[in-house]
């Protein structure tokens, strides 16, 4: 009789532990600031990149503007258009307040994403979307500042020289002080929900 009780107790503990682990995972992965130490959450990510029109863009130059930032690459046929489309839908939900939000696409593929390609790509999603790139070192530093991971796949395609890049699929919301206040993904957050978050940040006078 004792064994079943112990087994049941162990099973119950495992279930509780698993539930905690899942909720902890969700909390740290989806809820902007609560899952990371306050100091880290408050430190704005720093970066220095170049816009597709040649302008230099740094974290400091974007201060004062609420930003939506997504890292990706133009050769990505599925996820990047999905997430940038979600960004566009979110801005559409905002109405006139959208003008106070800067949409930004940062390429993690500086080798292939030329300024000309990036300009056309960003404009296809939103007329005000800023497309940023830089030297491989600058792009790596920017990604590190946001905790974005990207790695070139070993070419498996039959197309010689072709490769894809695995990458973090998060859209970052930066407040006017340049701090990351939300980490979002189209799979978890609707454009309506994202728009409500942005309205709270960008709705008032700057």
């Amino acid at each position: 009789m004792k064994i079943p009780i112990i087994t049941t107790a162990v099973a119950a503990i495992l279930v509780i532990a698993a539930a905690w682990a899942v909720s902890e995972h969700r909390r740290t992965h989806h809820d902007g600031r609560s899952g990371i130490p306050a100091a880290e959450a408050d430190a704005p990510p720093e970066f220095a990149l170049t816009a597709s029109d040649g302008r230099s863009v740094t974290a400091a130059s974007l201060r004062g503007t609420v930003c939506l930032i997504y890292f990706g690459f133009t050769t990505c046929p599925d996820v990047c258009p999905t997430e940038l489309g979600w960004m566009m839908r979110t801005l559409r939900q905002l109405g006139p307040i959208a003008d106070a939000v800067q949409p930004i696409f940062i390429s993690v593929d500086p080798e292939r994403d030329t300024p000309a390609k990036l300009s056309a790509y960003a404009a296809a999603f939103h007329p005000r979307m800023l497309a940023l790139t830089g030297t491989p070192d600058q792009v790596k530093a920017a990604a590190d500042a946001f905790g974005v991971v990207y790695r070139k796949q070993t070419p498996v395609s039959q197309q010689p020289g072709f490769y894809l890049i695995d990458h973090t699929m998060t859209t970052f919301v930066l407040d006017r002080e340049g701090r990351i206040v939300h980490r979002l993904a189209s799979a978890d957050t609707t454009p309506e929900q994202a728009a409500a978050m942005l309205r709270a940040l960008a709705g008032g006078a700057p």
């Binding site: 992965h29 133009t74 050769t75 990505c76 046929p77 599925d78 996820v79 258009p81 999905t82 940038l84 489309g85 566009m88 839908r89 292939r112 030329t114 000309a116 390609k117 056309a120 790509y121 404009a123 296809a124 999603f125 991971v149 990207y150 790695r151 796949q153 498996v156 395609s157 039959q158 197309q159 072709f162 894809l164 695995d166 990458h167 973090t168 699929m169 998060t170 799979a187």
Partner: protein, 144 residues
């Protein structure tokens, strides 16, 4: 039920084949190397398998699957061995899931144009379809 229906249709001489509908793609800009084709595939009377695809629009065409890695990093991989299409079932090629990937586009995919694609099934053989090019941000065939 499915078996009875298949037998009934078989008796009438109407054998249902795999069918493909709502085929679409997303517009690309000049220089963009790759595109994706999405579709709804409905199984026929017997289990089948989508083995591959070909298109004049691209140098290489592959079946790809999107998956989320443990660290939240998105990964895209070729589907090894093809995609099972169960009898009477439905398999959607859709964003964040399966797609037919066009690699080495010969020309940008223009909104409103159609892209010819030949799908190769294990049993149903070759099926010629046409994908309608929608906006770059489209999420479904009726997303217009």
């Amino acid at each position: 039920m499915r078996v009875i229906l298949a037998m009934f249709l078989g008796a009438l001489g109407i054998a249902a084949e795999v069918s493909v509908a709502e085929v679409w793609s997303r517009a690309t800009v000049p220089g963009q190397e790759a595109g994706a084709i999405f579709a709804r595939i409905t199984g026929g009377d017997v289990d089948d398998r989508l083995l591959g695809a070909a298109s004049e629009a691209a140098a290489t065409v592959e079946l790809h699957e999107h998956a989320m890695g443990q660290d939240g990093v998105g990964q895209m991989r070729e589907i090894a061995g093809g995609l099972a299409i169960p009898a009477g079932g439905r398999v959607d090629l859709k964003p964040r899931s399966y797609h037919i990937m066009l690699i080495g586009l010969r020309a940008p995919l223009a909104k409103g144009a159609t892209v010819p694609v030949t799908l190769r099934f294990e049993r149903a053989g070759a099926q010629r379809i046409e994908a309608l090019v929608l906006d770059p941000w489209a999420m479904a065939f009726d997303d217009r």
